[in-house]
Symmetry: C2
Subunit: 340 residues, 2 copies
DNA sequence: CTGAAAGCGCTAACAG
DNA sequence: CTGTTAGCGCTTTCAG
């Protein structure tokens, strides 16, 4: 078994004190250049490795940011993460990422782990079935900043970075109405989540504003993945009174649903217009291209992380800004254009 | 500022020793049930939080597995990660994930961080431009197991979990030849990476076996993303002697390339047959559906993680198994079927 | 079933 | 520019 080398070992070998070795390794200014080199070389020679735990224990500081997300299975999420990593690592922070796998129970465990690992701050997008956010209270109580993004929980004690889901839901629905659609279906996620709830509200409001009665049979909530899309497609194919438009809350699901409908002989957009959400690459790849909402994912990651770090670096009280709403926009493509 | 509660605080309040508190918190068997409850309750009351650093420092053990991947932007990678997380957390291990962003320099830094964080083992898929794996030597020297998956480096000291890229490259090419194609283009990634190198070798061998001369103008290497696909498409549209088939090393790129070609008036598969790789959902969503290779991603994650953990739990020497090859298979779809 | 005591490796005063 | 010293919070013998 390999014996771990410590700064004491280096100190002994070099006839220096552990303190000097520690400083030398950290490239401390007040250390002789020559001494530094001797230290670094010896460390290399003996295979010394820095002990993060001892350091963190001593410093009571970790320089680590925790990120909890539902899953990293979408283009959206991987873009957000890339941005966060960039911002954090440029600012000298490490990032630890964990997935809740869309389960609140796992989210709680993950939060606990992050807490015990003493992250300096937390960036969170909530799981599918998260109903309370009590598991983040311990952070808030300790003044550890928590920033929610995308799937957020609104409270006075935390910051939320979002897009205007209500408006986007409204705009999409209105666009479909403009195309002459009256029987507009909505396929979306769990309505407990703000994002889906808000889009749904926008959908309902638009219907109401245009005097189209809301019909609960035209709402499907589910997982919003490939399977859910094809299942919804099958269901629609079996309906006596088919919708003339569908507003789906994510592009992968929309694409999958569209595929099933096309296989069933439905013409898109002539028979049924389709709109998705996110501007996932898939929306530009299928035929017809899917009308969608451009989600500023890189920006969202960048802003959430920057905001957190600015706060950590001292300064800016968090709750002064309570909600950051990013610009997003409707991208109209062929899948919804009945009137060309 | 919140004062951190330690086991000493709990001990004092409860008139117990720190040792007993520590045991109680860990649900140690030799502690009175009643005492345990008192400890846990008091901890809750005072808002105690466990200090992972102190514990790790003392125990010299972290129960953490590090994962380094190029990017988590593909369906493939997110599936692999989901599997790894499941296996690890079922076995009581934490996972820390970091992305090299396809850069060797970042990969080196990440490896260093993992090392300093004393991960018990490492799961790695190499960056695009990684040429040496010296940065993993420190792990190997210290008997910290490193398992490579997908994008691997072959050496005697580490385990690699892969599919048979050579065979798949060969099979795809042969399939295209079977369809009557003679001018088969290959769009792939950096040939330094085993996966692309092997597929390329398979491609070349198949050509040779069927007496088709290899033409270097029919090879494009690049990033294999959406942009690379459309650029390749444009390039092909501008060629005087166009290929009659294209074998692309990933589905997203294949789909994007196909879109561009179709927009340019090329019929798929009549004019040009197309095959991708990975069985990404996108391959089933576009039209025509793309012929591809079913990549057992979940299994790959599961096996790599299980293997690592079995090794850690004591037992099984790593190098006895040096390479694990998973079954993968050609999925023939419309995009390559000239002879129906 | 509980306690005493030592030490994991590092850092930050403070002192020179 | 370098050294001394104390302590971060936990676990683990060993002892009772």
């Amino acid at each position: 078994m390999h014996k771990e080398i410590t700064i004491y070992d280096l100190a002994r070998e070099l006839n220096l004190s552990p303190a000097t070795v520690s400083r030398g390794l950290k490239n401390h200014q007040a250390i002789n250049k020559n001494t530094k080199k001797r230290i670094v070389d010896k460390a290399e020679e003996l295979g010394y490795r820095f002990n993060t735990f001892a350091s963190n224990l001593r410093k009571k500081k970790t320089n680590t940011i925790g990120v909890i997300i539902p899953r990293m299975n979408s283009h959206f999420m991987s873009t957000v993460l890339a941005a966060m990593e960039k911002v954090a690592s440029d600012a000298g922070y490490n990032i630890i990422i964990s997935q809740s796998m869309e389960s609140m129970a796992k989210e709680e465990v993950n939060a606990k782990t992050m807490f015990d690992n003493r992250v300096d701050g937390l960036l969170v997008s909530l799981a599918y079935d998260t109903v309370t956010i009590d598991h983040f209270q311990r952070f808030i109580k300790r003044n550890i900043p928590v920033i929610f993004f995308d799937r957020v929980h609104e409270s006075d004690e935390s910051v939320a970075v979002v897009i205007d889901n209500y408006k986007n839901g409204y705009d999409i629905t209105r666009h479909l109405v403009d195309q002459g659609c009256k029987k507009i279906m909505h396929i979306t996620g769990n309505l407990k989540r703000n994002v889906y709830q808000e889009r749904f509200r926008g959908y309902q409001q638009a219907l109401q504003d245009y005097n189209i009665p809301y019909n609960v049979d035209r709402l499907i909530t589910g997982e919003l993945n490939e399977l859910a899309g094809s299942e919804a497609g099958e269901k629609i194919l079996g309906m006596d009174e088919k919708p003339d438009a569908i507003f789906v809350s994510n592009d992968v699901c929309a694409a999958s649903c569209m595929r099933t409908l096309k296989q069933g002989g439905i013409r898109i957009p002539e028979d049924i217009a389709i709109a998705g959400f996110n501007n996932d690459p898939i929306s530009r790849m299928v035929e017809p291209n899917i009308t969608t909402v451009n989600y500023p994912s890189y920006q969202m990651g960048e802003i959430a992380a920057t905001h957190l770090i600015n706060h950590l670096k001292g300064g800016v009280a968090l709750h002064t800004t309570n909600k950051i709403i990013l610009k997003s926009e409707l991208l109209i493509r062929e899948s919804s254009l009945k009137r060309k």
